[in-house]
């Protein structure tokens, strides 16, 4: 028998299920480009994220995502305090590089106390130090056609052990606060926070700040990397590639 209550419940459930199905519709997804365009137009491409004083830091900076890649290769590198680790820089570059931690430390450094904003809603403030990504990209020399910088990581996340990666465009790659941090709060980066090297791209959400960076690749297109959406969480869960919102 069809009751009014039954109709309302069924109708409501159908409507909700319908809405759930629309969550990934192209119309909704178009908002990402609109926000990116609006933010960069009114905020400026080179606008700096807020920097804080040392006493404004979080007393305890929680870890998130992978806490330890824990692969045989990574454990061997960690056991030797990453003395044998090398950052590979390749793809569309004139001079592919292989850089040790000591070499990264000897480049001009930038230190910044910034707020890390997780997509989940929490924030933590910490100090990060390392060379600017721009310095490294200029050493390698981007070739014509390079549009994105991809960061390949040592960790594989989730039950299916899918390799973590992230990507940013050249606007953020050459931003003054975009650094490759090897130090956090005046100490070498801990394993929980991405040792030996993590990306800091301060005007975007936490998932963009790739940890355990092993290789940097300059590419013309994100298609063909992972599932083509530009990052681990973008591929797996559908998070926005532009993490400024």
């Amino acid at each position: 028998m069809i009751t009014r209550r039954g109709l309302i419940v069924t109708g409501g459930a159908t409507l909700l299920a319908g809405c759930d199905a629309w969550s990934g519709s192209p119309v909704l997804l178009s908002a990402e480009d609109a926000h990116r365009y609006l933010q960069r137009s009114i905020n400026g491409r080179a606008a700096l994220a807020r920097e804080f004083r040392p006493e404004q830091r979080s007393p305890r900076f929680r870890t998130n995502g992978t806490a330890n890649p824990n692969t045989p290769e990574y454990n061997a590198l960690a056991a030797n305090r990453f003395a044998d680790w090398r950052l590979q820089v390749g793809g569309l570059v004139a001079r592919p590089l292989s850089l040790s931690l000591a070499q990264l430390r000897s480049l001009p450094q930038r230190a910044q106390i910034t707020r890390h904003d997780c997509v989940e809603g929490w924030s933590a403030i910490g100090k990060w130090q390392g060379p600017r990504l721009e310095t490294i990209l200029r050493l390698a020399g981007l070739r014509d056609g390079a549009r994105y910088i991809v960061f390949h990581c040592a960790d594989a996340f989730g039950q299916r052990r899918i390799p973590y990666y992230e990507s940013i465009d050249l606007v953020d790659a050459f931003h003054p606060q975009t650094i490759l941090a090897w130090a956090m709060n005046d100490a070498p980066l801990g394993i929980g926070h991405g040792a030996p090297l993590r990306l800091r791209v301060e005007r975007q959400l936490g998932y963009k700040h790739a940890k355990y960076v092993m290789r940097i690749e300059a590419v013309a297109s994100l298609a063909g990397i992972g599932r083509g959406k530009g990052g681990f969480w973008e591929d797996i869960a559908g998070y926005e590639w532009y993490g400024g919102i």
Binding site: C19, A31, S58, F61, R115, D117, S123, L205, W233
Partner: protein, 229 residues
């Protein structure tokens, strides 16, 4: 007596805004479920002191109905643009056509204690319209519409913008830090939800068919014209 009560721009904005609010509250609750704790200040995470820590909202209140932070953000960030730009257009338009100045301005005599008490008694007796001028909003109506238009909706928009790491850094500073902005965003949402509940209750008490029709066609039948009165 038929009264032309709501102009086209008001009617369009009302329904666009209603849809945006209807999407943004449930999708916002889903986003909240990803970290159901609120803090004051610039930072705030699991080890820091939360002033409010709630259980997760049930699926029938959230959009999407099962845990999906990415999907909720798609809904929320799309309708954020709808909400903000429709409000901007509506407010500018309503300044230009003098809707705000004419219908929402408090007159001095309305603010007297006697008038306030009279309005309160009229509400209690479910008389919502001045028979002398049935088109006019009463004082509480004006106050609540002004609160939504000039305080709650702008506060929701700007605290929401302050949460975006790519947005102006001073915006988060203005609210006392990003986590304070997040707390204020939540409080403003709770107040707006309160408004929606009161608003819908009063629509039902005042005669839902007549009220809803007036927000669709613009034409409202004043109580004197109701049959049997």
């Amino acid at each position: 007596m038929q009264v032309y009560r709501h102009r086209l721009i008001t009617r369009i904005w009302h329904w666009v805004n209603a849809l945006a609010v209807l999407v943004m509250i449930p999708s916002g609750l889903m986003i909240f479920n990803a970290h159901p704790r609120l803090y004051w200040g610039n930072y705030g995470a699991n080890f820091d002191h939360a002033w409010l820590s709630l259980p997760r909202w049930p699926g029938w209140l959230t959009l999407p109905s099962t845990y999906d932070l990415a999907g909720a953000r798609h809904w929320h960030l799309f309708f954020a643009l709808v909400l903000a730009f429709s409000l901007l257009i509506y407010l500018l338009w309503s300044l230009a056509n003098r809707h705000l100045q004419r219908d929402l301005r408090f007159r001095r005599d309305e603010l007297s204690a006697a008038h306030l008490a009279g309005d309160l008694r009229a509400h209690w007796e479910m008389r919502f319209h001045d028979p002398e001028d049935p088109r006019a909003y009463n004082l509480f109506q004006k106050a609540s519409y002004a609160l939504v238009l000039f305080v709650l909706l702008p506060l929701l928009i700007f605290t929401g913008l302050a949460l975006a790491p790519g947005m102006w850094p001073w915006l988060a500073d203005l609210f006392g830090g990003r986590q304070s902005a997040r707390s204020l965003h939540f409080i403003a949402m709770a107040l707006l939800t309160g408004f929606v509940v009161v608003h819908l209750t009063l629509v039902i008490l005042a005669g839902p068919v007549n009220e809803v029709r007036s927000m669709i066609t613009g034409w409202w039948r004043s109580p004197e014209a109701e049959p049997g009165e």
